[in-house]
């Protein structure tokens, strides 16, 4: 134990992962949330989110974390993070009202010299507009759902927005951040707030480039999977660049930042045409599986049965925010769908002819085509021969390539994936 007590207010995905990481670094942690039912569940080790490694980490540090509904307990902390996840609407606009209310609650109980750090997803200008900004900081969160624990334990860097970037950080904040052993970048509030958005915009640029070129590959006989290694060896692009083709952008956070850039650009008269183009491309690629299904399975077959694996917007999460799978389901209303997801229950989905299967293979039974919309690890272990045995049809639409094309072909299946030359429909 370092002896330093750190508070986290707002116990959803970001707050919980951050609190667990703080405990793992040896800090005494107070986790505050006004939702009594939520706190009770956390005290029973029941988590409101699906995140690999998080239950284990929280269980390991159970003794170091106090979950409470009493904001006053934050007053005993040397610094307090305000870290609720900020919800967005369908247009990617943030609802900042609950965050402002929580900041006011925390600020009211903190001693005047205790640093308050806003960790939530906020737009440029937010922190400066808070009352008494001198003891307020903002810190860029780079939570990646599904990889959040690893990133929280071993961050690449900390980006801290300050009233005066030239001044040293308060001792408690400096000590806390130093415990993670990564670079600490101090900058003005607006720079830090925009840095978070800049990271996501660069990711989207990379994703959009990959998706644009992967689509071209599908039509001209090239294979994006063969090209990617060449790009990764280019230092200007990088070994860890987001180059995997996908079904557009989803999840809510990237969309939020694109919406913020568009809004700010419109307000200030700067150009955001490329951002709008990325959004349009995202929408286009989101519907890739629908187009493949129509061409290969559905056309002229109103009685077709579709097997659908994966409902969440990506693997290792229960989140379906802007999920391509749900967009696909909405376009399959007349068709029978047999769906399976390891964590998302189909009862959360509105579809008249949807049957929830107990397993991936059960979903395949009697279906005319299979679509694998989320690259869950569990699906990678499926044997194409077992799928072929259960499917009535031969088509497997597998955007992320969780199955091997050769193995699918050997099992007599028509395997279609993003970025790979599209086989001619057999029908």
């Amino acid at each position: 134990m370092s002896g330093l007590r750190v508070g986290f207010a707002g116990l959803t995905h970001l707050g919980l992962v951050s609190a667990a990481a703080a405990a793992d670094r040896g800090f005494d942690v107070v986790g505050f949330d006004a939702d009594a039912a939520q706190v009770e569940r956390l005290q029973r080790q029941e988590l409101p989110v699906t995140e690999p490694g998080l239950p284990e980490l929280l269980a390991k540090h159970r003794a170091a974390i106090t979950f409470t509904t009493r904001a006053e307990e934050l007053a005993t902390c040397a610094l307090a993070y305000v870290a609720p996840d900020v919800a967005t609407d369908d247009l990617g606009q943030s609802d900042l009202v609950p965050l402002r209310a929580l900041i006011a609650t925390v600020a009211a109980v903190l001693p005047a010299d205790t640093p308050l750090v806003v960790l939530s997803q906020i737009p440029p200008g937010f922190t400066r507009a808070l009352e008494a900004p001198a003891r307020r900081f903002c810190q860029v969160e780079t939570l990646v759902i599904g990889d959040a624990v690893r990133r929280a334990l071993s961050p690449e860097r900390f980006i801290v927005g300050c009233a005066d970037p030239a001044a040293a950080l308060p001792a408690a904040l400096g000590e806390y951040l130093a415990a993670f052993g990564c670079p600490i970048l101090r900058m003005g509030y607006e720079s830090a707030e925009l840095a978070k958005i800049a990271i996501n915009v660069c990711l989207v640029a990379s994703i959009s480039a990959a998706n644009t070129l992967a689509e071209l590959c599908e039509r001209i006989g090239a294979d994006w999977a063969e090209i990617v290694p060449a790009l990764r060896l280019d230092r200007r692009i990088g070994a860890h660049a987001y180059l995997g083709p996908g079904l557009g952008i989803a999840g809510g956070n990237l969309e939020r930042d694109l919406a913020t850039v568009s809004r700010l650009a419109d307000t200030h008269g700067t150009d955001a045409g490329v951002v709008r183009a990325w959004l349009a491309n995202s929408r286009h690629r989101r519907d890739w599986a629908l187009a493949q299904l129509h061409e290969r399975v559905l056309e002229g077959r109103p009685d077709a049965v579709v097997a659908l694996l994966g409902l969440s917007y990506k693997a290792d999460t229960a989140s379906t925010k802007n999920s391509p799978a749900l967009a696909l389901l909405a376009a399959l209303t007349p068709f029978a769908v047999r769906a399976y997801d390891p964590v998302v229950a189909t009862r959360a989905v509105s579809h008249e002819h949807l049957v929830q299967a107990a397993s991936a293979l059960e979903a395949c039974a009697g279906a005319d085509g299979l679509v694998i919309m989320t690259p869950w690890t569990e699906f990678r272990t499926l044997a194409p021969a077992a799928i072929a045995q259960r499917l009535r049809g031969r088509v497997v639409i597998d955007p992320y390539g969780v199955l091997a094309t050769d193995a699918c072909r050997a099992a007599g299946l028509e395997h279609v994936r993003l970025g790979s030359p599209l086989p001619a429909p057999r029908r």
Partner: protein, 299 residues
């Protein structure tokens, strides 16, 4: 995020409209739609020009007398480009639409379907969706875009705007550069002459599919904008080869020196698939064969 484009159905469960008033029922698409409505036993009023002259001074009054509240109105009537692309047909088409709009304002139809054109996209190339910029580059496209806005401003109920791309069928009198002209060239001269080498990619829809899709729009009382395209573009060279194969005798296919740059046009039909998931287009091969057969029957 960008909003979804395409159609929204007022009726989740399709139901035939009580009566359809079809303006322009004597034309290429109108004739096929009238037949489809008759087959579906949907009461239809399709006034001939002698009964309702939309270009006449009293058009609005006469149309108002014909319309009943609750009618579904399909507006197909227009002077097509083969009648000229100049100012006169442009103004005449707007005047025609103005008469329709005045009548629509006086009588509350339950639904209006306006037949526009992909000419509203002007010289746009590549992939098009209903969200693509409608930026016409000629008076014909401008006319349709203006009429879309006029109709939308006048009708209080749901309005569906359909923007068909190149439509073909045996009864097509327009002779625009497409399957019918290529077939006529082959029939008459034994050869097909292409612009350049026929590299341009275009989407061609069979007129029967346009009628069938319109019926679905009417049954669902849909509102919004929909491109009417199959989603499968083909080069003119390949189209010519398909047409040539319809003839027993050999048909020569020849190119000409290119006068204009190559442009391609593909349609992303996601919005159509979302609106009508079970709708299936006739394959181009089947459509061409049908048109060929019907044209031979017509002599």
């Amino acid at each position: 995020m960008t909003a979804e484009v395409g159609l929204i159905h007022s009726r989740a469960t399709p139901e035939p409209p009580g009566r359809v008033v079809l303006l322009g029922g004597g034309g290429f698409i109108g004739g096929r739609l009238r037949a489809a409505l008759a087959r579906a036993r949907i009461p239809t009023l399709a006034p001939r020009r002698s009964e309702l002259d939309l270009a006449g001074a009293e058009a609005a009054t006469h149309l108002r007398e014909l319309l009943r509240p609750g009618d579904a109105v399909v507006v197909l009537a227009a002077l097509t480009p083969d009648k000229g692309r100049g100012l006169a047909p442009f103004m005449a088409n707007l005047a025609m639409a103005a008469g329709v709009c005045i009548a629509l304002e006086k009588v509350d139809p339950s639904h209006v379907v306006y037949f526009s054109s992909d000419a509203v996209y002007g010289a746009a190339t590549g992939r098009l969706t209903e969200a693509s910029c409608a930026e016409p580059n000629d008076l014909y496209g401008t006319m349709h875009l203006a009429r879309e806005l006029m109709i939308r401003a006048s009708a209080r109920g749901p309005v569906a705007v359909l923007r068909p791309t190149l439509v073909f069928g045996a009864d097509d009198t327009h002779n625009s550069y497409g399957p019918n002209r290529l077939r006529r060239m082959a029939q008459k001269d034994g050869r097909i002459v292409l612009f350049g080498e026929g590299e341009e990619m275009r989407d061609h829809v069979e007129v029967g599919d346009v009628a069938a899709l319109t019926l679905e729009v009417l049954r669902h009382r849909s509102a919004g904008t929909l491109n009417v395209a199959s989603g499968r573009a083909i080069s003119y060279a390949e189209l010519a080869r398909k047409v040539a194969r319809l003839f027993e005798r050999p048909i020569a296919i020849t190119g000409t020196p290119r006068q204009t740059p190559i442009t391609h046009r593909h349609f992303d039909v996601t919005a159509l698939r979302r609106a009508f998931p079970t709708f299936a287009f006739t394959t181009l091969d089947d459509g061409l064969a049908r048109a060929h057969r019907e044209m031979l029957e017509q002599g």
